[in-house]
C-alpha cells in the first residue's frame, strides 16, 4: 500500500468518525445553511459547530495552506484525496469564505510575511469574515475607473468614497478594497489594494434590495475610514495587478460553481413536477430542457478538463473567461426553464429557487466582470483580433 493509499484510508476513517450526519448531503446553495465565520458568526446548531471546529483543528478548512497559517500543508495529491473522500460522503464544506477563495490566494502570492502571519490564520480559523470591495456605482465593467480615494496621512490610510455590490457586507468584519491612491497616475496604475477593518465609525453599509426582494448585497460607504499604512497588498499603486490575478480566480469560481452549486438537475425537477406524461405533452419544453442539460453536461466536463489540465501543469489562460461567460448564460436559461416547469406555482413564490435563479441570474452575468468584458478579453487576447 502506498503512502497515498494510507492517507486515503486514514482520511476516510476520520471523516466517517467526525463528520456529523446532519452535515452530509447534497450541497444546498450558498445560503445561511453554510457557516461563514467571523466576529458576528453564530452557529446554527451543534453539529455545524462541531464539524467546523474539528475540521479547523485538522487544518482542513484550507488543506493546502502551510501549517503555520492554519492549513494542513497537504500536497496536491493529498488535497485531492481529501476532496474526493469528502465528496464520497457528501460532506458539507465546514467554512465558506471569501477570505479562503479570494484574499488568501492574493496574500499567499503578493503579501508580506507580516501580512500573511496576521491575516491567513484568522481566515483559516474563520475568525474574520472578509468582504470584497471592487465595484463602484460609476465603475462597473470599467472597474479601473474607480474613484474611491485613499491618502496616506500620519502613517495611516484615510479612505473616502463608496463601494457597491458588497456581498453580505453587513455581516463582514473586514474588506479588501481597491482604492485610488495616486490620483495623477494613468487610470490602471494609481490603484492600491488596501485591507480595511469595517468595525469603525468611518465605515457604514446600506442594503441593496433586489428584484426578488432579497438583499444579499450592500453599498459600503467610507467616510474618513482608516487603515494602518502597512495594510497595502502588493506595492502601492499596483493594486490592479493583484486584482487581475484575483479576477481570474473569481471568474473560474463563478463559472464552475454553475455546475456545482445546483442541488438538482433541471430534468429531475421536470420529471418530479410534470411527470413523463406532462413532458410528452409539451415537446418544446422537453427538448429545451434536454438542450440545456446537454450544455450543462458539457460545462461540467469542461471544468473537469480544466482541473486535469491544471494537474498536468497545462495552464489555460482563457478558460476562466470561457467558464464565466458560458456558465452564467447557462444559469440564465436554467432559471427560465425552472420557471416554465414550475408554471403557476413558480410565479407565486418570490423566494423559491426557480424565481431566485430566474431573477438573480442576470447579476451573475455582470458580477466578476460583465460577459462583455469576457468577450473582449477573448477576442483581443485569445483570438488576437485588432483594436478598433
Amino acid at each position: 500500500m502506498s503512502d497515498l493509499d494510507d492517507f486515503r484510508a486514514e482520511t476516510r476513517a476520520w471523516l466517517e468518525a467526525n463528520c456529523p450526519q446532519s452535515r452530509r448531503g447534497a450541497f444546498r446553495g450558498f445560503s445561511t445553511f453554510n457557516y461563514w465565520g467571523g466576529r458576528k458568526a453564530v452557529f446554527q446548531d451543534e453539529d455545524q459547530q462541531l464539524w467546523f471546529e474539528r475540521m479547523r483543528d485538522k487544518g482542513w478548512t484550507v488543506p493546502e495552506w502551510p501549517v503555520e497559517y492554519g492549513g494542513a500543508g497537504l500536497d496536491k495529491a493529498r488535497a485531492n484525496i481529501l476532496q474526493q473522500e469528502m465528496r464520497r460522503i457528501q460532506a458539507q464544506s465546514p467554512l465558506q469564505s471569501l477570505g479562503i477563495w479570494m484574499l488568501g490566494p492574493a496574500l499567499l502570492h503578493f503579501g508580506t510575511p507580516e501580512q500573511k502571519a496576521e491575516h491567513l490564520p484568522k481566515i483559516a480559523r474563520g475568525e474574520i469574515r472578509w468582504a470584497q470591495g471592487y465595484s463602484e456605482p460609476g465603475a462597473g465593467s470599467d472597474l479601473a475607473s474607480l474613484s474611491t480615494k485613499g491618502e496616506l496621512k500620519d502613517g495611516q490610510w484615510v479612505v473616502n468614497g463608496s463601494k457597491i455590490w458588497t456581498t453580505n457586507g453587513d455581516k463582514c468584519d473586514m474588506i479588501f478594497t481597491l482604492v485610488r491612491t495616486e490620483p495623477d497616475a494613468p487610470k490602471h496604475q494609481g490603484i492600491s489594494f488596501i485591507l480595511i477593518d469595517m468595525d469603525q465609525p468611518g465605515v457604514t453599509t446600506k442594503p441593496i434590495k433586489l428584484i426578488n426582494g432579497d438583499d444579499p448585497f450592500v453599498q459600503t460607504f467610507f467616510d474618513n475610514a482608516t487603515a494602518p499604512a502597512d495594510q497595502v497588498v502588493g506595492p502601492r499603486g499596483k493594486g490592479w495587478d493583484v486584482t487581475k490575478y484575483l479576477l481570474g480566480h473569481e471568474r473560474e469560481m463563478i463559472g464552475s460553481s454553475m455546475t456545482n452549486s445546483v442541488t438538482e438537475t433541471v430534468s429531475s425537477v421536470a420529471k418530479a413536477k410534470l411527470g413523463a406524461d406532462g413532458l410528452k405533452a409539451d415537446p418544446g419544453l422537453r427538448i429545451a430542457i434536454a438542450q440545456h442539460e446537454m450544455e450543462s453536461w458539457i460545462l461540467g466536463i469542461a471544468v473537469e478538463r480544466l482541473k486535469d489540465m491544471g494537474k498536468a501543469k497545462q495552464f489555460s489562460q482563457f478558460s476562466p473567461s470561457v467558464l464565466k461567460l458560458m456558465g452564467t448564460e447557462l444559469n440564465y436559461r436554467r432559471g427560465e426553464l425552472l420557471m416554465s416547469i414550475g408554471g403557476f406555482e413558480a410565479i407565486n413564490d418570490l423566494m423559491s429557487e426557480p424565481v431566485h435563479s430566474y431573477l438573480h441570474a442576470p447579476a451573475n452575468c455582470i458580477a466578476g466582470g460583465s460577459n462583455e468584458v469576457q468577450l473582449n478579453i477573448l477576442s483581443k487576447r485569445a483570438l488576437g483580433l485588432p483594436e478598433l
Binding site: 465595484s135 460609476g138 462597473g140 465593467s141 470599467d142 475607473s145 457597491i164 455590490w165 441593496i208 434590495k209 433586489l210 428584484i211 426578488n212 426582494g213 413536477k273 410534470l274 406532462g278 409539451d282 415537446p283 418544446g284 419544453l285 429545451a288 440564465y332 427560465e336 420557471m339 416554465s340 414550475g342 408554471g343 403557476f344 406555482e345 410565479i347 407565486n348 413564490d349 418570490l350 424565481v355 430566474y358 431573477l359 438573480h360 442576470p362 447579476a363 452575468c365 455582470i366 458580477a367 460583465s370 460577459n371 462583455e372 468577450l375
Partner: protein
C-alpha cells in the same frame, strides 16, 4: 382591415396613454405593492377607466357595449403594458366575452352593464394544473353544485362573481358562482408581479349555468383566444417600454470614457431586438383584426402572437436587465417590475412552448 391604425384607434391610444401615464404609472404599481393592499388595484383608477370607456370596449353595441372591437381592447392592453397598470382589465374582458358569447338575454342585460361600468369584478376560474391546460377539467357540476379546485383565478381576491368551468355529463359548462356562497374558499396568491389572483376551492357550492352548457365549449375556446391576443398586446407594450428605457440607458451610461451604447456589440444586439419588435408588432395587430373580422385563422393567429410575444418579451427583458448592468436587478429600478410581469403574462393562457406545439399540430399539421 389594413394593418395600420385607424384615426379612431390612434385617438384611443393617445387617450389611454395619457390617462395611464397620469393615473397608473409604474410608480403607482410600486406604491400599491409596498402598501400591502390585498386588492392590488386602485378602485378609483378602475372607475376612471370605466368613464373613459376602457373596460371591455369590444362588447358589441347591440349588447350595450361600445363596439370598438378587439383591436381597441388590445391597444388599451398594450398601453397598460407600458405602465404596468395593475387593474382587473383582462378579467373584465374575459368575463364580458364569455357573457356575450353564451349568456342568456337576461344574463347579458344583468351582467354586461355592471362589468363595463367597472362595478362588478368577475374572476374566471379556469386553470387546474401547474401549467396552462385547456384540455379538460376535473371540477364537476352536479345537481346545481360545483366541486373541486381552480388555480390562479385572476382578480379572484375580492371578486363579486366567479365564472367557473366545470365538467357536466354534456361536456364542459360555464357556471356563475357567488364567492360568498357555501363551500367556497378563496386562497389569495402572492404573485411575483404583485397582481391579484387566488386559488379557489369549491365544495358543493351552488352554481348557476351561464347560458346553455352545449355552447360553452366553443365560447371557452373563443375566450381563451381573446385573452391570448390581449396578453400578447400587453407583452408588446411591456417589451417596447423596457426596450426604450434600455436604449435610453445605453445612451446615458458612460463606461471606458464613452456611452456604452457606442459599443457595436451592444448596438447590434439592440438593433436585432428592434427588428424583432418591428416584425412582431404586425402579428399582434393581425390577431386582433382577425378576431374582429371573424377570420377563420384567428385562433392560430392568437397563438402565433401570444407564443411569439412571450418569447420576444422574455428576450427583451434578458437584454434589458443585462444591459442595465448591476442595477438592472435592483428593486430600485423599474426594469425588474417589467421582468416579473413578463414572466406572469407569458405563463397565463399558454407560453411559447404551448403555442408552438399548438400551431405545429393545428396550423401546420406536423
Amino acid at each position: 382591415m389594413p394593418l395600420v391604425l385607424t384615426e379612431d384607434e390612434v385617438m384611443l391610444v393617445d387617450a389611454a396613454r395619457g390617462f395611464l401615464t397620469k393615473s397608473a404609472p409604474v410608480s403607482a404599481l410600486r406604491a400599491l405593492r409596498d402598501s400591502g393592499d390585498t386588492l392590488r388595484y386602485t378602485p378609483s383608477v378602475w372607475g376612471e377607466m370605466a368613464e373613459n370607456g376602457f373596460i371591455a370596449p369590444h362588447v358589441p353595441e347591440a349588447e350595450g357595449g361600445l363596439g370598438m372591437g378587439y383591436a381597441a381592447a388590445g391597444l388599451i392592453a398594450e398601453q397598460m403594458g407600458h405602465t404596468l397598470a395593475p387593474t382587473p382589465f383582462l378579467s373584465a374582458a374575459i368575463a364580458a366575452e364569455l357573457v356575450v358569447q353564451v349568456g342568456s338575454a337576461e344574463q347579458k342585460a344583468d351582467l354586461l352593464p355592471k362589468i363595463i361600468a367597472g362595478n362588478l369584478i368577475v374572476g374566471f376560474a379556469f386553470e387546474e394544473g401547474l401549467r396552462h391546460n385547456p384540455a379538460g377539467t376535473a371540477v364537476t357540476f352536479k345537481d346545481g353544485k360545483v366541486s373541486g379546485t381552480k388555480k390562479i383565478v385572476l382578480d379572484g381576491v375580492g371578486a363579486k362573481l366567479l365564472i367557473v368551468v366545470a365538467a357536466t355529463d354534456a361536456g364542459p359548462g360555464l357556471f356563475l358562482v357567488d364567492p360568498s356562497a357555501a363551500g367556497v374558499t378563496v386562497r389569495p396568491l402572492d404573485l411575483i408581479d404583485s397582481r391579484n389572483a387566488a386559488d379557489v376551492d369549491f365544495a358543493d357550492t351552488p352554481a348557476t349555468p351561464l347560458g346553455e352548457v352545449g355552447a360553452a365549449k366553443a365560447a371557452i375556446a373563443r375566450t381563451l383566444d381573446v385573452a391570448r391576443a390581449l396578453l400578447a398586446a400587453e407583452l408588446l407594450g411591456i417589451a417596447d417600454e423596457a426596450f426604450d428605457r434600455t436604449v435610453a440607458y445605453l445612451k446615458e451610461r458612460v463606461q471606458f470614457g464613452r456611452p456604452i451604447g457606442s459599443f457595436q456589440a451592444l448596438q447590434h444586439r439592440a438593433a436585432r431586438l428592434y427588428a424583432r419588435l418591428d416584425l412582431t408588432r404586425g402579428a399582434v395587430l393581425k390577431a386582433l383584426r382577425a378576431l374582429d373580422e371573424g377570420d377563420k385563422a384567428a385562433t392560430m393567429l392568437c397563438s402565433l402572437s401570444k407564443g411569439a410575444m412571450s418569447k420576444l418579451a422574455y428576450d427583451v427583458m434578458v437584454e434589458a436587465t443585462h444591459m442595465h448592468g448591476g442595477i438592472g436587478v435592483t428593486d430600485e429600478l423599474d426594469i425588474g417590475l417589467f421582468y416579473k410581469r413578463v414572466r406572469v403574462a407569458s405563463e397565463l393562457f399558454g407560453d411559447a412552448h404551448f403555442h408552438t406545439d399548438r400551431i405545429a399540430t393545428q396550423a401546420f399539421g406536423i
